[in-house]
Amino acid sequence: MLRGDLEGEDLEKYVEERVVTTTFEKMLNLARANSIFPLTFGLACCAIEAPISIVTARYDLARFGAEALRASPRQADLIILSGRVSIKMAPVVRRLYDQMLEPKWAISMGACSSSGGMFANYAVVQGADKFMPIDLHVPGCPPRPEAVMYGFNKLQRKIMGSPDQGWRQRYNAAGTEEWARGGPASKPSLEAAEAYELARELTLA
C-alpha cells in the first residue's frame, strides 16, 4: 500500500487491525514459552516416554518449539525428571539444575520422581521436590507421551503468566476444590475462602 491511499478513519481502522500493543514482559514470556530448550536427560523407564518418544515424528515436540534438546545444562532451560531419583543420584540432579541458566523450569514426571512411587525404601528420594524446586508434576506410571505434552503445554501457559487461573469461575466449577469436600490437613486461606464464597454466589445466582 502506498502512502496516501488511506486517510482519516480508514487509516485509523487499518492500523488498529494490524498492530497489537502489549507489554514487554508479555512479549518476552511469549518468546520464552515457545522456544524452550529441554535438557537431554533421562533417569529411568519414564525417559523412554518423555525425552525420547515426544521428540519423534509421531508426537513431535517441535510443534511447540522445543525440538532442540541440549546436551549441556548450561544451554538448557527445562529439565524433565523422568524416573526415580535415587539418593546417590539426587546430588547430581541438583547440580545439573544449578548449572542451568535462569530462567529455568523443572517438570517432575511420573509417580516415582513426584512421590517415590512404588519405591518406598532406603534407596529412593521420596519426591524430587525435597531437594529442588519443581514447577509441574505429571502423574502416571509412566505417563503417556500425550500426558507429558499436556504437561508441557501447561508449563508454557505458566510461563506466559498463568492464564489458567480462575477457571473454576469460568466453568462454574465452584465446590470442586479438594479442601471444600472436607479433605485432611489442608485448610483454606482467608482469601481462598472468600474467593470460594464469591464463586459460589456467582454460580448459584
Partner: protein, 168 residues
C-alpha cells in the same frame, strides 16, 4: 553338580586334607551345599580350586543372606563353578550377628573384590584382608546396612483424602 552321595564323598576327601573344616552338608532341590567353619573358609575354597580332579576355578557368585531370628545369623554363600564339567557347588559359612567377620577370598578369586564390597555395603560383613573394603553402591556417607532384616523399610506414609473420608 555332585549328587547326594557324591557330596558325601567330596566331604570325606576334604576331611583328609583339612580335618574339621566342613561342619555339615546339605542337599536340597538338586543343589549341593557344603557348610563350613567360617574361620577355615579359605582352606576349603583353595582345596576346591586347586585339587586335581576338582577344578572349581570360577566363583560365579558371592552373596549374603540374613536369617534374622536364627543365630548364627548371616550366611555367606560362595557359588563355585567347574567350567569343564559344568558342575556347581555352593559353599556356605555362617557368621554371628555381633561383628560378623570372614577372611577375604580376593587372593583366590579376583572377581570377589566387588562382590565382597557389595556384601559389606548392604550387610556390614567385614572381609578381613580385602584390598579396599568401602561402600560400592550406596553413597560413601550412608549410615546403616539396609539389606539387614532389622533395617527399617523407609519411605513415607501416603494419605489419600478419599480413603480418609470413607474409612477414616
Amino acid at each position: 553338580m555332585p549328587d547326594g552321595p557324591g557330596l558325601e564323598l567330596l566331604r570325606g576327601e576334604i576331611d583328609v586334607d583339612a580335618p574339621g573344616a566342613v561342619l555339615a552338608t546339605s542337599f536340597e532341590k538338586e543343589r549341593a551345599v557344603l557348610i563350613v567353619d567360617a574361620a577355615r573358609i579359605l582352606d576349603v575354597l583353595a582345596w576346591l580350586r586347586d585339587t586335581p580332579g576338582q577344578g572349581f576355578r570360577f566363583l560365579s557368585s558371592l552373596h549374603v543372606a540374613d536369617y534374622l531370628p536364627a543365630e548364627p545369623r548371616f550366611g555367606v554363600h560362595y557359588e563355585l563353578l567347574n567350567r569343564e564339567r559344568v558342575e556347581r557347588i555352593r559353599v556356605k559359612a555362617m557368621l554371628p550377628s555381633e561383628s560378623p567377620e570372614i577372611a577375604s577370598c580376593v587372593d583366590l578369586f579376583p572377581t570377589a573384590n566387588f562382590q565382597e564390597r557389595e556384601a559389606f555395603d548392604f550387610f556390614g560383613i567385614v572381609f578381613t584382608g580385602h584390598p579396599e573394603l568401602t561402600r560400592i553402591l550406596l553413597p560413601e556417607d550412608y549410615v546403616g546396612w539396609p539389606q539387614r532384616r532389622d533395617f527399617p523399610v523407609g519411605g513415607e506414609p501416603v494419605t489419600f483424602t478419599y480413603s480418609e473420608k470413607r474409612y477414616g
